[in-house]
């Protein structure tokens, strides 16, 4: 059971809740693997995706999750310009709510936007990424993947490599993992490390080789190309040279370590093309797991009771 009305992040959610989501995702993954990928579990339930920022994979992942569970999903691509036209976030959501929508999947460029909407609507909200704050379903699918591949999260060393300052993926990963006692290392150039990051319970590195050494998992973050024009980085070439994940650097990890990336990838910037082709690179599986985790969440938040026969 998700205790709060809204799923806003992994910071304020218990390990019991996370465990249950990850547990429910297992049978969901089976459904995805079937020939007939449809169960009637959420038939007659209405939800909407509310994306104020561009997204292909997260949006389609939620949409597909909804379809496999037979929920009706409306997609609203809201450009931020509608805010300037005077239609506020609340107006948009309330309009859909009074049409019967029970759950919003929301992405927004401003940190805290789903928290703000959540206080102003009765519908439940799943945060699909808010500004630089959190991206909880990405965090959950990453944790699912790590657990699936490597076992008990508490025994793992996970290195998060890249632009953690601007990354909601990094924050959700950190909040989720530290709850389980995972040893989390973060590595980035000094200019991309936010202040007081250590207080989140992680080890902070600037030397990528030291940060990778002996890790069970490396989770590589996407680098926004505009960072080089805002005084944070000299060039993408230099970034790749000192912080890019190369095959040579992969050798520093444990022999059975896995390589992860939330996508979409900038090949030749944060990750080299041959690393993507590495046998222990699980990027595609992360995407499948994303659908499973989102199905589990929709099931739990749109009326499915725990212990219900998902099949």
């Amino acid at each position: 059971m998700i205790k709060e009305k809204d799923l806003l992040g992994l910071r304020n959610i218990s390990t019991d809740e996370i465990d249950e989501i990850l547990r429910n995702a297992v049978p969901m993954k089976d459904i995805i693997m079937r020939d007939i990928k449809k169960v009637p579990t959420l038939r007659g339930k209405s939800m909407a995706t509310l994306f104020f920022e561009n997204s292909t994979r997260t949006k389609s992942s939620f949409e597909i999750a909804a379809k496999y569970l037979s929920a009706d999903c409306t997609n609203l691509a809201v450009s931020t310009s509608s805010v300037q036209k005077g239609e506020t976030l609340i107006d948009t959501a309330i309009t859909l709510e009074v049409m019967g929508i029970e759950l919003f999947v929301m992405r927004h460029g401003a940190s805290g936007a789903p928290h703000f909407l959540g206080r102003n609507t009765k519908a439940r909200i799943i945060n699909a990424g808010d500004g630089m704050n959190e991206h909880p379903t990405q965090g959950l699918l990453d944790m699912y993947t790590m657990k699936d591949k490597k076992g008990d999260l508490g025994n793992l060393t996970v290195t998060i490599l890249g632009d953690v300052a601007h990354s909601r993926v990094a924050r959700s990963n950190i909040w989720g993992l530290v709850k389980y006692g995972t040893k989390v290392r973060v590595v980035a150039p000094e200019t991309l490390i936010p202040v007081e990051l250590q207080r989140m319970g992680v080890e902070v590195y600037t030397d990528v080789d030291k940060a990778l050494k002996g890790a069970d998992v490396v989770n590589v973050l996407r680098l926004q190309k505009e960072r080089q024009s805002s005084g944070l980085l000299p060039s993408l070439v230099e970034y790749n040279k000192f912080w890019g994940l190369t095959s040579k650097r992969v050798e520093l990890l444990k022999d059975d370590a896995i390589i992860m990336h939330p996508g979409p990838m900038n090949r030749g910037v944060e990750i080299m093309p041959d690393v993507y082709e590495h046998p222990r690179c699980v990027v595609d599986e992360q995407v499948t797991n994303g659908v499973a985790v989102r199905m589990a969440l929709l099931f739990m938040m749109l009326g499915g009771k725990s212990g219900d026969d998902i099949n």
Binding site: R11, T88, S111, G112, V195, E196, L197
Partner: protein
């Protein structure tokens, strides 16, 4: 004639701290003494168990008129001031148009005729706030301004600040400086620290303030001008001001109740009424502010009362304008969080909220025979809950909504007339 009887009168500037009576005749204070005899023609105010202060002065309010009357008007702002126990407030010039010449000063002055609270006007330092052109400070001073400021922004650059200070000195005008190096702030909007890191909100490091404080101190030294640091928020800035004062430089500073009471932890709620500029800072900074207030580095408390319309603040955190209302909660917050906790005394409260602003800006702020009878009568033990909908201010944007506070203004007397009587606007 009003006789204020039996109250605990506090005015450290005149070394008063005890049960006294005050007799007001017409607009002025006629007598301060123990047991003044009651006469039938006196209107007697029973101040038993109440505190009697010189009328409080707030050197930093935004009354939004002209140009933003949907946020606040002079009338509603002054009603809020009276309710908060302020007998004098000084309004900032970042209106539309900006208060940057005599005609606008005079038009505001006209609107204050008949007002129950003294409104003092602060003129812009440069034309239309953010430019290179000095304002006609001399002319505005003749029309009544009490200081100059580009509040909302600092004076543009070091060169213009130098010239502003040199020019203002001739008219004995203090520059009230909003200290924020904008290139350092770089579009941030909460304190850069643990909370900006975990919430993914863009931070403004305290150094953005420190850089301008340091710049201005250097320029005060160079020009002999006077700078008053508005809403100081950074612990380093407190150190810089302390050091400047040791050197005998003409630097003073104010702090807001919100910076004394809250930290950036309050931002965690994403409640946009916590979005203020300078931002709520860390606990370390907050403690340094309290310390600076106590040791005299920080001269006064000012509210930075910044009302906004509900629909402007009820948006995503990043899109909300900066500012919180403060007039109606200030003295109760200071009473609850600093006096009742034993950090400061009522004498210090009066120093910071009446004596010192009065002395620095030559606005009275003391209980002295022959002076205007500006008096605040305060019940230090009355408990109340902050309900924004009950404010006289049009602004509801307070981070203290629902807080239980101690201490309420019972009467506010301005020039011998009640602006607030029994807690209500007259």
């Amino acid at each position: 004639m009003i006789l204020i009887k039996g109250g605990h009168v506090v005015d450290p500037k005149n070394k008063i701290d005890g049960i006294m009576d005050i007799l007001v005749e017409g607009e002025t204070i006629n007598k301060i003494d123990k047991n003044i005899e009651t006469k039938s023609e006196y209107e007697v105010v029973d101040a038993t168990n109440l505190m009697v202060f010189p009328g409080l002065i707030d050197m930093h309010v935004h009354l939004r008129e002209p140009g933003f009357e949907h946020k606040e008007t002079i009338q509603t702002g002054l009603a809020a001031a009276a309710k908060g126990g302020f007998t004098t407030v000084a309004c900032m010039p970042n209106t539309k148009p900006a208060i940057d010449d005599r005609t606008i000063v005079e038009s505001i002055e006209r609107k204050t005729r008949g007002a129950k609270v003294n409104l003092k006007i602060i003129g812009a330092a440069t034309k239309n706030i953010d430019t290179d052109q000095l304002t006609e400070m001399g002319d505005m001073k003749e029309a009544g301004i009490v200081a100059i400021s580009n509040d909302g922004k600092p004076v543009k650059n070091a060169y213009i600040t130098r010239r502003v200070l040199e020019y203002a000195k001739q008219f004995d005008l203090i520059l009230i400086e909003h200290c924020e190096d904008e290139s350092m702030a770089n579009g941030g909007f909460i304190h850069e620290g643990y909370y900006s890191t975990i919430l993914g909100l863009k931070g403004i490091p305290r150094e953005a303030e420190d850089l301008i404080v340091a710049r201005d101190i250097a320029l005060v030294k160079m020009t002999g001008g006077k700078v008053h640091i508005a809403h100081i928020s950074s612990k380093n800035s407190v150190d810089l001001v302390r050091e400047a004062k040791k050197q005998g430089l003409n630097v003073t500073a104010e702090v807001t109740p919100q910076h004394l009471v809250l930290t950036d932890a309050a931002v965690e709620s994403f409640d946009t009424s916590t979005k203020i500029n300078p931002p709520l800072r860390s606990e370390e900074d907050r403690q340094a502010l309290v310390e600076g207030l106590i040791d005299g580095t920080i001269d006064m408390i000012a509210t930075d009362h910044a009302p906004h319309a509900r629909w402007e603040k009820e948006v995503e955190y990043a899109y909300a304008p900066f500012g919180a209302v403060g007039l109606e909660t200030a003295v109760a917050l200071i009473n609850t969080k600093l006096v009742k906790t034993g950090l400061i005394t009522y004498s210090q409260l009066v120093e910071k909220m009446a004596n010192n602003p009065g002395t620095v800006f030559k606005l009275g702020g003391e209980l002295k025979l022959g002076n205007y009878a500006d008096i605040t009568i305060f019940d230090p033990n009355k408990k109340w809950t902050v309900i924004p909908e009950e404010f006289y201010s049009m602004g509801r944007n307070t981070p203290f909504k629902g807080w239980e506070l101690e201490g309420e203004v019972v009467h506010t007397i301005v020039k011998g007339e009640f602006a607030i009587k029994d807690g209500k606007v007259i």
